[in-house]
């Protein structure tokens, strides 16, 4: 999935296109535009829209895929709001999101600023290196980071041991497991985000920086007063995409606690909302309850998108 999941941006009105349907042209020609866009709509209708709508329907049932389906109204939702596992998963998701988004964005800001230098050597090498984590799969990332952070045999705990710190059981502790997952997420995305920021920075005319230099602005002032403000729209955009991505974190928690994968540990210390959905749907086979969790996730996405819309409108008004 592209990190670009939600943009509540109105379509840009385009100039009238040149190929108007004319009566002189054949029926096939007049219908051809529809044929060109039809694959998208057909596929989306069957595999996107219908399942999406059906989620709301299934959520109203006690739906056992190998047994009975009983209509129970809003019971799944009542149960969900009273379910400490749901709130635990929501809390974990929020915590992992915060722990991954903040460092990721700060890192990306700084790196984009230094990469945006006219006379930087090896620029392509640095840029490409930063995209390597993005092409590494989440599954492979989870396996290698779980090993690096392992309590008994991990490199990190060995290094901590050198400075006299007792081994940390990252997976078994709540904060530790969140840090571990957040590290993986940050590792995967900070380079990508850096390049997004760099793209925006390259649109800032060089004259602006030159003028600032002449006025005596040092590197920090240039960063603070030119780089950061000009990146504001794209920062908001990446916060939104990382939030929606954060709500869907699944593979990392599934793979780091190999003994209790579906709960990410004995006390669900790192179970995220999407993993909770999976556990209820494909571990417990409560399709109805799992769908209710899906509806809740959707509601959260809507709220985030709305906040994004409000924020970006305000920024444009500034």
């Amino acid at each position: 999935m592209n990190p670009v999941a939600v943009t509540l941006t109105p379509a840009r009105p385009a100039a009238p296109p040149p190929l108007a349907p004319r009566s002189s042209r054949g029926l096939g020609e007049r219908l051809s535009p529809y044929a060109y866009i039809a694959p998208f709509f057909v596929i989306f209708a069957i595999f996107g829209l219908f399942p999406f709508a059906f989620t709301f329907y299934v959520a109203l049932f006690d739906w056992n895929p190998i047994g009975d389906q009983v209509f129970i109204g809003a019971d799944n939702f009542t149960r969900m709001f009273a379910d400490p596992r749901f709130w635990n998963a929501a809390g974990n998701t929020l915590s992992i999101w915060a722990l991954s988004t903040v460092p990721q964005l700060l890192l990306a800001l700084v790196l984009a600023h230094v990469l945006n230098h006219a006379r930087l050597r090896f620029a392509l090498f640095f840029r490409m290196s930063m995209l390597v984590p993005y092409v590494t799969s989440v599954a492979a990332t989870a396996i290698v980071f779980a090993q690096l952070f392992d309590r008994d045999y991990g490199l990190l705990n060995w290094l901590l041991g050198l400075v006299g710190v007792e081994p940390v059981d990252f997976v078994q502790s709540t904060l530790g497991s969140h840090v571990l997952i957040a590290t993986m997420v940050t590792w995967r995305w900070f380079g990508y985000t850096t390049l997004l920021y760099l793209a925006s920075l390259q649109a800032v005319p060089r004259a602006v920086y030159e003028a600032a230099s002449i006025d005596g602005a040092g590197p920090w002032q240039r960063f603070r007063h030119i780089t950061v403000p000009s990146l504001r729209p794209v920062i908001i955009f990446t916060v939104v995409t990382s939030t929606i991505g954060g709500l869907q974190i699944f593979t990392e928690p599934l793979l780091i606690a190999s003994g209790a994968p579906l709960t990410c540990g004995a006390v669900r210390q790192c179970q995220t909302l999407t993993l909770f959905l999976y556990e209820q749907g494909f571990g417990e086979f409560e399709f109805g309850y799992g769908s209710a969790i899906g509806v809740a996730l959707f509601a959260m996405v809507v709220v985030i998108a709305a906040i994004n819309y409000l924020l970006s409108t305000r920024i444009r008004a500034d």
Partner: protein
């Protein structure tokens, strides 16, 4: 860079690869009546049985898939039953069985294939668990676990503990004595005595009861049954005694720790022997097996079932009939150590006098059949697996994540209520 050639290339590659993939519906041999597809879980060594069967029936093509853990196998089976290709034969672990028994319409009633003729061969309390309310027989038991403790003689000797299996068994008539032994070991060596408290203490003790999570009328009593509470408190006691390695059973580090002597004793039902062998091949001869603390009991054991939509039910049934016959199970025992569920072979020399060299020639047949003597069967219900898991989680939380032992019981009961919607 032209796009047209990659386009053709990709289309060709996709066609080629999907064409080369073995057919979706057919499974092993595609409905020739003799071949079939078999889902098992890993590390249970069903492969040895399959190989033996292949040898006797070279015309039969068996496609064996080791799906993953027993739980993952049950989950994969459920998704398959819900709408996918089902295997012809599937291995279901005892804890996962009740949920399937509740939905008998998904499986072939084995009575229609002749299960009534062989039903009497199996321990009654074992095969009963696979009989649905309407009397349908859904599974044939492949093995029972029994109970025992596998321990490292070299590590025991280094700690000044006895190494002879009878003397070791005498160290721990009760679970309290087991925990005390652990403390002695820890004091002498500074190392962990057993792998974890949840499985090696609680899960054993809770399977030595007369009633577990349900009473005789199939009503839930997990929160009021004093036997369950006692077992749970033993688990907490072990978790807080500092004698465990904090390695959850079947996790990677647990397997690695086994080979490295991170812990000296582990609860080992008969089917576990195979895991120890494959996890720690370098420790051959350093293990022995002693009797379990407490009373008679059983952990685990599995069943073979045939899904309703199976394409080759008859072939799967032929396999069950031959490999799960008393003789068939006896042979599987000699290959892998899993105890037969057919009591008629318990007196057979091949079992009664069997010795396992990996475990210092321990008389495994005798040890495990003895552990079943006087066993009081209890009802295992649809939520038993979930309830057990929550108790395990609560103890693990105390042991590994610094949970409060004082509230562990209440936490567990609350989590169970949430999980089973009670």
């Amino acid at each position: 860079m032209t796009l047209r050639s990659p386009l053709l290339l990709a289309a060709a590659a996709f066609a080629l690869i999907t064409a080369c993939t073995p057919g979706a519906g057919g499974g092993g041999g595609g409905g020739d009546g003799k071949s079939f597809e078999f889902w098992s879980f890993a590390a249970i060594n069903q492969k040895s049985s399959v190989d033996a069967y292949r040898e006797k029936h070279p015309d039969v093509d068996i496609k064996l898939t080791e799906v993953g853990t027993s739980t993952e196998t049950a989950q994969a089976l459920t998704t398959a039953l819900a709408g996918g290709k089902v295997p012809d034969l599937v291995l279901i672990q005892g804890d996962n069985l009740p949920k399937f028994v509740q939905q008998p319409q998904n499986f072939v009633d084995l009575r229609t294939l002749g299960a009534d003729d062989i039903k009497g061969d199996y321990l009654e309390w074992v095969i009963e668990q696979s009989v649905a309310e309407g009397g349908e027989v859904l599974g044939i038991p492949t093995d029972v676990g029994g109970m025992a403790v596998a321990y490292r003689t070299d590590l025991f000797a280094a700690a000044g503990l006895p190494t002879d299996r009878d003397e070791v068994g005498a160290l721990w008539p009760t679970w309290d004595a087991f925990i005390e032994t652990g403390k002695r070991y820890k004091q002498a060596t500074g190392k962990a005595f057993t792998d974890n408290a949840a499985t090696s203490v609680f899960y054993q003790a809770v399977n030595q009861v007369s009633q577990k999570y349900y009473d005789g009328d199939h009503e839930l009593i997990y929160d009021s049954n004093p036997e369950v509470r006692t077992a749970f408190d033993l688990g907490i006691k072990a978790a807080t005694a500092g004698i465990t390695a904090g390695q959850s059973s079947f996790e990677n580090a647990w397997s690695a720790g086994m080979g490295q002597g991170q812990y000296a004793a582990v609860a080992a039902p008969s089917w576990m022997l195979n895991s120890i062998r494959s996890n720690a091949p370098d420790t051959a001869g350093k293990w022995d097996i002693a009797k379990i603390p407490g009373a008679a009991g059983n952990w685990g054991g599995s069943y073979l079932a045939i899904p309703k939509r199976a394409q080759n039910p008859q072939a799967a049934w032929e396999y069950i009939k031959e490999m799960q016959s008393p003789q068939g199970q006896l042979e599987h025992f000699t290959r892998s150590g899993a105890l037969p569920s057919t009591p008629s072979v318990y007196q057979d020399d091949k079992l009664a006098t069997a010795k396992d060299t990996f475990f210092s020639d321990a008389p495994t047949g005798k040890i495990y059949t003895d552990s079943l003597l006087g066993l009081k069967p209890f009802y295992i219900g649809p939520d038993s697996a979930t309830i057990g898991q929550e108790f395990l989680n609560s103890i693990t939380n105390v042991e590994q994540s610094g949970g409060d032992p004082a509230t562990a019981w209440d936490d567990a009961v609350r989590n169970i209520k949430t999980a089973i919607g009670g």
